[in-house]
């Protein structure tokens, strides 16, 4: 459907009126992705420039923190003034190089304050950048980085397994309330995508029962939070998402179809306790489809396929056990389909 037709349709439905707004919509997601990847390549060379040309800055802890912060502040101003892809990309490259410099200084500066502290500080910084940097790709990358850094902080505290639960709850909350505020939408949408990618990534940490940060920084130690705890919380988020969608459809809480929908979601999500990622993948797919967001549900499908293939390498269980878990998952999915087609959404 062309823009003109769409505008006429909305005007006809009384949802818009007057002249069609001038077309200054952002480009498709893959153009933004291309610009972002090119920005990352430019950032690598900028980091090279700082490391080689400003070696004295890199060697000093306070100087690298200060110079990094200055570069981030410059990028902030560049984004505010940006009228073209050139300045936006340059701002992104300067900001990423600044963050690398700041992180390098900060991790050395805070090393006496506990191992998780610099991770928490950097996670908070990335969360703040996701909110204030007026650039779509920057917000997305910062939100993604915040999830990974928070996951690192949790892993160093023996709770790495809970990271997917926090990330999944945050992404579900934002996507479910995506259409609440027109003013905040431009800020929240890229953050929600960043949280989605972060969730897909940190779910893999629960495959082996121990995140990579924890494996390197706390070898031989036992995490107090077990993967099943994190997955149980992700399952709770899946149930909350299904509940909200059921209510949105106008179904009553005590109706059999509402309860069956929740029970089916619980049965599918419960397989996540032994096959981490299933519940998170379904959260993303359902949210994407419910909101007509094909990119989001495509990400969810890709995540589910990735989890099935990656599950082969999960070290904590034998292939026989994993075959059993997958067979149970397949049976739960097909049973849920049977119930859905006959009881929840029968032919009208």
């Amino acid at each position: 459907m062309m823009h003109g037709e769409l505008w006429a349709k909305l005007c006809g439905a009384g949802l818009a009126g007057g002249e069609m707004p001038r077309d200054d919509a952002q480009g498709p997601w893959y153009v933004r992705l291309m610009l972002g990847v090119a920005g990352c390549i430019a950032a690598v060379f900028l980091i090279g420039f700082v490391a080689v040309g400003l070696e004295f800055v890199v060697q000093s802890k306070p100087a690298s923190v200060f110079a990094g912060a200055l570069m981030i502040a410059s990028a902030y101003v560049l984004f505010l003034a940006a009228r073209s892809d050139f300045s936006a990309m340059f701002g992104f490259a300067v900001s990423v190089a600044g963050q690398a410099l700041l992180a390098y200084g900060l991790f050395r500066l805070l090393e006496g304050l506990g191992r998780a502290t610099p991770w928490v500080v950097m996670a908070a910084l990335e969360a703040a950048l996701a909110l204030i940097m007026a650039n779509y790709f920057h917000r997305l990358v910062s939100a993604y980085a915040a999830v990974l850094l928070l996951s690192g902080a949790l892993a160093l505290s023996g709770a790495g397994a809970l990271a997917p639960a926090f990330a999944a709850a945050a992404l579900a909350h934002i996507w479910l309330n995506e259409l609440r505020s027109a003013g905040l939408h431009a800020t929240l949408q890229p953050i929600a995508y960043g949280l989605t990618l972060g969730t897909i990534h940190v779910e893999t940490f629960n495959w082996g029962g121990k995140s990579f940060v924890s494996a390197f920084a706390r070898p031989g130690s036992v995490d107090w939070a077990k993967p099943w705890m994190g997955e149980a919380l992700v399952l709770a988020t899946l149930l909350y998402v299904v509940w909200r969608l059921v209510r949105r459809a106008g179904w009553e809480p005590r109706e059999p179809r509402s309860l069956i929908a929740l029970a089916s979601a619980a049965a599918i999500g419960a397989t996540s306790l032994k096959a981490p990622g299933v519940a998170a993948g379904f959260i993303i797919v359902l949210l994407g489809f419910a909101h007509g967001n094909r990119v989001l549900w495509g990400l969810g499908i890709a995540a589910l396929l990735f989890y099935v293939s990656g599950y082969y390498y999960l070290l904590d269980a034998t292939l026989l056990f994993k075959a059993g878990v997958l067979a149970a998952t397949g049976a739960a999915l097909l049973a849920a389909r049977w119930v859905m087609l006959r009881r929840v959404l029968p032919h009208a």
Partner: protein, 313 residues
């Protein structure tokens, strides 16, 4: 695209209620769409999980189960899946799912054969035989995902063949490039005649595979310059870029592939500049390349956004 347009208008205050506007434009699912979607989602994910369970089971090589029982189990499942395809019909989603499962299980059956009889065959032969044996099903399946599975299996066979014989990485990349480029051309040509092949994700995945291989070859040639005679990649690459432009700008417009080609060109130019400017270890070289990448990216972004606006107008 429509969704983003509506949300853009909503952000600027031109549309009052984003939810109602998305509904009016048919972007939000109703009861029938939810039913169809959940039907397909649960069917496909269930089928993939069950097929993966069988593959894992075979890979475990359970000693409690005799070899005859293992063969009987897998062969029975293959026969059941093919019978399911025949029973459910070639045009139904469930029938296609059954054929996909049968194709995956056949790979597991070949792996089991190699595992039990220790045939001494190389891994690439397993994948090549798998591709050859499922080819008839792929031909009759009229199903894009099955074709993509076949392409992926052939890619694996090619990659493993070159690993087994310790041939250079470049030969492996050339073989992958040639196969994926031919597959891309074939898919695009066939997609115009067969509606079931007319899906955007298929050619896009093949274009990524073809582009990644030729980009890696050119970058390889740039860093090996002078150590090898007349690198063919440097000659083929502009030709590839030209074909991509001609096809996806003029004949079958697709901004996704054009954006990928732009990124490939940026990587190649950055590699060329790195080779020329960074060998001395001068800091200014890094800065210059960063600026060049930003300039190229910005120009590519501007051009692609112009094309996107033209397409929307």
């Amino acid at each position: 695209m429509i969704r983003n347009t509506i949300l853009g208008w909503w952000q600027r205050g031109a549309v009052r209620d984003a939810g109602a506007a998305l509904q009016a434009a048919g972007m939000l699912p109703g009861r029938a769409e939810w039913r169809r979607f959940l039907d397909q989602l649960l069917l496909w994910s269930g089928a993939v999980a069950l097929a993966a369970a069988v593959v894992f089971f075979v890979a475990h090589n359970w000693s409690e189960l005799g070899k005859l029982a293992k063969f009987a189990l897998l062969q029975a499942l293959v026969v059941a899946a093919v019978a399911g395809y025949w029973r459910l019909g070639s045009e139904s989603a469930a029938g296609k799912a059954a054929l996909l499962v049968a194709s995956i299980l056949l790979g597991a059956l070949l792996a089991l054969f190699g595992q039990i009889y220790q045939t001494g065959a190389d891994t690439w032969e397993l994948f090549a035989s798998w591709a050859a044996l499922i080819a008839p099903w792929v031909l009759i399946g009229r199903f894009a995902a099955l074709w993509m599975l076949w392409v992926a299996v052939v890619n694996l066979a090619i990659a493993l063949y070159f690993q087994v014989f310790f041939l250079e990485d470049q030969k492996q990349l050339w073989a992958l490039f040639a196969f994926d480029t031919l597959a891309l051309a074939a898919w695009e040509l066939a997609g115009r005649r067969a509606s079931w092949l007319d899906v955007s994700w298929g050619p896009r995945l093949l274009a990524i595979a073809s582009g990644a291989a030729i980009t890696a070859l050119v970058v390889h040639s740039i860093f090996d310059w002078g150590r090898q005679p007349a690198p063919a990649a440097v000659l083929v690459y502009p030709l590839w870029l030209g074909c991509i432009y001609a096809v996806y700008r003029k004949l079958l417009p697709d901004l996704f592939v054009l954006a990928g080609a732009c990124l490939s060109a940026i990587v190649v130019v950055a590699a060329f500049l790195s080779k020329q400017l960074l060998e001395s270890g001068d800091a200014a070289g890094f800065l210059l390349i960063a600026i060049a990448v930003v300039a190229m990216g910005g120009a590519a972004g501007w051009w692609l956004n112009q094309l996107a606006r033209e397409a929307r107008a």
